[in-house]
Symmetry: C2
Subunit: 213 residues, 2 copies
């Protein structure tokens, strides 16, 4: 067999199907990051259970399964691997180690509900009609916003503290604050922490306010 001529080894175009396949398979990354958060893999790696074998023992999962999952997360930049040892990327250390004050893992419970996934699964029909297929979220007392309040509170902690600093500043006189669609209530709570004389009125459905309370 003749060697491959050099001309054939050169790409004919800069075009590559890489990004297309990455987009088509985007749901695989959704599932992988979601499973890793559910199994709390990042916290375990940060705590020193940093091989597939150690992770399997610590998280009570199959060594082969966790190795394949972790290697996929290495490829996608959420873990690093040296020999058989995993470590967290900088982003993962800040946002996915559950002991971090900026932990955001809980937000997948809201962002990946079956209702939201299902809405996107009907995307072609939404484009045809030009509207929104998602109606569940607007029903009174929808449980969706209870999940929202529970899941998104940690994510809003830093933002609410920053906003309270900007809004309240050094103001120490009594303030009246109206928090419409208060959800987890983090923004009102941060205002109260910045100015104990403030009076915050939080408005939301009663089932959602129970979370803020």
């Amino acid at each position: 067999m003749a060697p491959i001529p050099a001309s054939r080894a050169e790409p004919r175009s800069e075009a590559s199907p890489f990004r297309l396949f990455q987009a088509i398979n985007g749901f695989q990354l959704t599932e992988a990051i979601s499973s890793a958060i559910e199994l709390d893999i990042f916290t375990a790696v940060a705590a020193g259970h940093n091989t597939a074998k150690a992770l399997a023992a610590e998280r009570r999962v199959a060594e082969r399964g966790v190795r394949i999952l972790c290697d996929f997360l290495v490829v996608n930049g959420f873990l690093r691997k040296s020999g058989d040892q995993y470590s967290l990327s900088e982003d993962s250390a800040v946002f996915l180690d559950s002991r971090s004050p900026a932990y955001m893992g809980s937000c997948v419970k809201f962002l990946l509900t079956d209702e939201i996934r299902q809405s996107f699964h009907d995307l072609t029909n939404a484009v045809r009609r030009g509207g929104c297929l998602q109606t569940y979220a607007h029903a009174p007392d929808s449980q969706v916003w209870v999940e929202f309040a529970r899941s998104m509170a940690p994510m809003m902690m830093m933002a609410s503290q920053g906003l309270a600093e900007i809004v309240v500043g050094k103001e120490s006189r009594p303030l009246k604050v109206l928090d419409i669609a208060a959800g987890h209530g983090m923004f009102g709570i941060a205002v109260l922490q910045a100015n104990p004389k403030a009076e915050v009125t939080a408005v939301d459905w009663s089932n959602v306010l129970a979370v803020a309370r």
Copy 2:
């Protein structure tokens, strides 16, 4: 209100939740690219229907819906936008215009079957057990491989021709070729085109071979 001190405007860390949210929401990109392929948006843009209004008329969809979809594809690099006019990125022109010889849009029918999506939806359990939850593909005469053969043939056209050049080269004597798990049969067909004296035996389930035939 005092201006924000410079120190607060500076990021405390290089860490960003951007990649995390991109991963969590990966399924949205899956649905967007899949819907755009199903609605054949890329071919329409290439043919000059390059505004939301023109696309809506050509593809019989809502103008608002197709504008939102296309803008999302601009953000993700599959379309470009200048004023209200869309154009294809280089990758999209090669792989997503259905008149292109390298068109790959049909592969979503195989890559995004409900069975494959469902397998990934159970990923956490697959990691726990360390096995594969996907068993449908191994049943005799599974329809999955008929869809595979139909959907993936265009994608393998160029690869099979390249492989035939390498394997057959300038050999013009009769050859015997055994193509195991032939699927769409593209590799055997390419060998026959490169050397008409070749004799190719394609082996697969009979329902799959019907596609190759």
